[in-house]
Symmetry: C2
Subunit: 162 residues, 2 copies
Amino acid sequence: MQIAKGVEWTTHICTVIALLPPGRGLAVDVLADFFEVPSAYLSKQMQLLRRAGVVESVRGKSGGYRLAKTPDDITLLDIVLAIEGPKPAFRCTEIRQNGPCGLKRTDCKRPCEIAAAFAEAERVYRDALKVKTLASIMQEAAVNAKPEHLNDIGNWVQQQLP
Amino acid sequence: MQIAKGVEWTTHICTVIALLPPGRGLAVDVLADFFEVPSAYLSKQMQLLRRAGVVESVRGKSGGYRLAKTPDDITLLDIVLAIEGPKPAFRCTEIRQNGPCGLKRTDCKRPCEIAAAFAEAERVYRDALKVKTLASIMQEAAVNAKPEHLNDIGNWVQQQLP
DNA sequence: CTTTATCCGGATAATATATATCCGATTAAG
DNA sequence: CTTAATCGGATATATATTATCCGGATAAAG
């Protein structure tokens, strides 16, 4: 039960492109260099974010990726669902319908109690990710970081703009 | 991000072997037939449960698996951790230390805010699974099931005992 | 218009993990 | 001792994750 690395990568990247001036974007290659992650694969992950409406892309020269919404409107759950897809982690295969004492399908209107318990746990998990916005993450990071480091990132972002 | 099928299988199986008379066990082959799951693979999963102290095995003739604790003392989290292992789903690879603006390791005493947010979400997930005991699951199932089905299972378990 | 930089999508491959099987070693019951 | 059953390791297969490459589309800049 592992979360794809793309979730970690793209979340960090969202905190960086949030610092861009309005209307500007950063290229995948540039972002890949910033965190030393493989650019071709990162490109795939960013496409997933774009399809989910988290970021938007500008094609052609001086194009790149930027946020599609304000950092307040992007949650960690948005990013996880974009990368991992919507399917729940627990897969109920209805084995209660199998074997010598298997239930008939018509007797299985209610969800299996085990599946329901896992669904409930996943619900609280998702709720916890839903209240963490990109803005709140960046706020926490700003409080904890050294001022010069925030400066470094701001300057670096500026320098990447054509 | 998927939970291993073994979690579903062994949880269901725990609700069955909970019905055994004290001191008796059921063989893997018998349990595999009950839910129509592959017995050799189920055997591996039951070994994981045994190492985690959820079930215990009796070797030799008329041996098999039985619960190692009362259904009240077994939680869904116990089973998940036994099968999936203890490692968290979100893997922080510390990419904040990478690239042109990477932090020095000495500046990374606090956990990364992103990793912390996922750790918190996993904490509430685990807490939700921790309050679901085998006993509570069986209680819910007993309330929802038709009485004759509970009877069928009880009778089947009796018949499997030598 | 041409060049250049960039995203897009599909194909492909490598690696890791999950799923599944088999068999010899070991242990308990009769 | 013989038989039945589990354990543990070795191994095989399937699926998911990670990763790369390339041709095509798009758009800016010269």
